[in-house]
Amino acid sequence: MKDVFITANTIISPLGFDSEANVSAIANEQSGITLHNNISTSPCYASIIDHKKLDDAFSKIGDSKIYTKLEKMMILSLQDTISQAAFSISDKTALIIATTKGNIDALNNNFEPERAYLPALGNKIKEFFGFKTEPIIISNACVSGILAIAVAKRFLQNDYYDNAFVVGGDIVSEFTLSGFQSFQAISKNPCQPFSKHRTGISIGDAAASVAITTNTSESEAIQIIGDGSCNDANHISGPSRTGEGLYLSIISALKEANIKPESIDYISAHGTATAFNDEMEAIAFNRAKLEKTPLNSLKGYYGHTLGASGLLEAIVGIHSLKNNMLYKSLGMDELGVTMPLNIIENTTKKELKTFIKTASGFGGCNTAVIFKKVEQ
C-alpha cells in the first residue's frame, strides 16, 4: 500500500494566522483563552478570533462581507496551505472538510438560514478555489478533524484520489456555548486539562488545513502510518468508564503501523478538561501501555475547537516532531486522574520520531492517528 504524507499546513487561531506563529506562541506558553463579556448570558472564558483582524487578513483575498466567519477562517487557512503545497488542484485532488457545527450561527444571524447546511459551506470553499471534485464533508462530532486525516489517507492509499487538501474549522457560537452550559461543562476559569482543579471545558475558534500526498520531496517528511476510529458502544454523551473505544482505536492504529506502544515518543491527547473525559483517557492510555509516554493536551492554548481540534492539534504535533520539542500541557498543576500519566509540565527539547494524536467525542466516537518523521 502507498505511503501517505502530510506536507503543507496552516493554523488560523487567536494565536496567529499561520502555523509558525501558532507554534511560537505555544513555545512561549501564550493562551488564546480570555474572558469575554458578550458571548453568553454571563461572562465566559473562550478563545476567539478577533473579527477585525480576520476581515483585514481576508480582504486581501476576497470580499469579507459575503462570507461567514467560519468560511473566512477556513478559506484563509486553505489559501496558505494550497500556496505552500508542491501540487496544484487537479481532477484527482480531494477537498475534505471537517466540522462539527459548520455555519450553525446562520440560524440566528444576518446570513440566510440555508447557509447552515454543511453542503452550502462545502460549495463556498469549493468555488473559491475552483476544486474540481465534490467536497467530502465529515461531521463526526469532536473527532471530525483527526478523522479527516484518516479518511484522506485511506482514499489516497486506495487510489481514489492522487492528493488531498483537508480543512477543519469550528467557531464559538451561542448555540454550542449554551448547550455545553446546559451540560454544566463550561469551566469557570481557563480550562485545565488533566488537573485536579479542572472544572470543565473552554471553547475556541480555529481553522486548520493540511496538504496530503503520496509524493514528497521534503527531506524530513511526516508520514501517516496508522489510524483507528472505534465506538464505545456505551453512552451517547458520557465517556466510557473503561476507555473502550479510545483503547480499541489506539490498538487498531498501532497494529496498522506495525509498532509497539514503546515506539511512540509523544501523545497529543484530547484532554478537554471535563472530569469524565480526562479520566476516560487516562484509563485508555494505561490499558494501551502508554502511561509513561510524554503527553499533553493543547486545549489550554486553544480551548476546545470542536471539529477543528484534532486537525489543529495534529499540526502542532507535526511541528513538535520537526522541532524536536515537547510542549507544556498548559493549565496542568496537580494530576487529577486516578491512573498515572506522564504529563509534559515544562516545554523541553527531545529527539522525537513518532507521535499519536487522539480525540473522543459525543456519540461515543474516538479516533487515533499515528504520525512518523522519516528521513528521505
Binding site: S182, F183, Q184, H235, I236, S237, G238
Partner: protein
C-alpha cells in the same frame, strides 16, 4: 405536597420521555436513577433545567443534584423548601 408530587411525576414522564410510565407507576419513594426508573446522566441534567425553569431553583453542584434526585419524595421536599416560583 401531594399535588406537587403528582405534578413532579407528570413533568418527569413528560420531560424525560418515559413513554411506558404513568403517574401511578411511580411511587413516591421509587429510586429515580439506577434500578428504579433507570434515569441516566442526561436525565439528571434535564432535571436541573426543570428545577430552574419551573421552580426557580439553580443547582450548580452536580453532587447536590445527586442528593436531591433520590426519589420524588425527596425532590418534592427540597422544592417546597427552596422554590422561588
Amino acid at each position: 405536597m401531594d399535588a406537587l408530587k403528582k405534578e413532579l411525576k407528570e413533568s418527569i414522564i413528560e420531560q424525560l420521555n418515559l413513554e411506558d410510565f404513568t403517574v401511578e407507576d411511580i411511587a413516591d419513594d421509587d429510586t429515580l436513577f439506577g434500578d428504579g426508573l433507570g434515569l441516566d446522566s442526561i436525565d439528571a441534567l434535564e432535571l436541573i433545567v426543570m428545577l430552574d425553569k419551573d421552580y426557580g431553583i439553580k443547582l450548580t453542584d452536580p453532587n447536590e443534584g445527586k442528593a436531591v434526585f433520590v426519589s420524588v419524595e425527596v425532590l418534592a421536599t427540597y422544592i417546597a423548601k427552596h422554590r422561588t416560583k
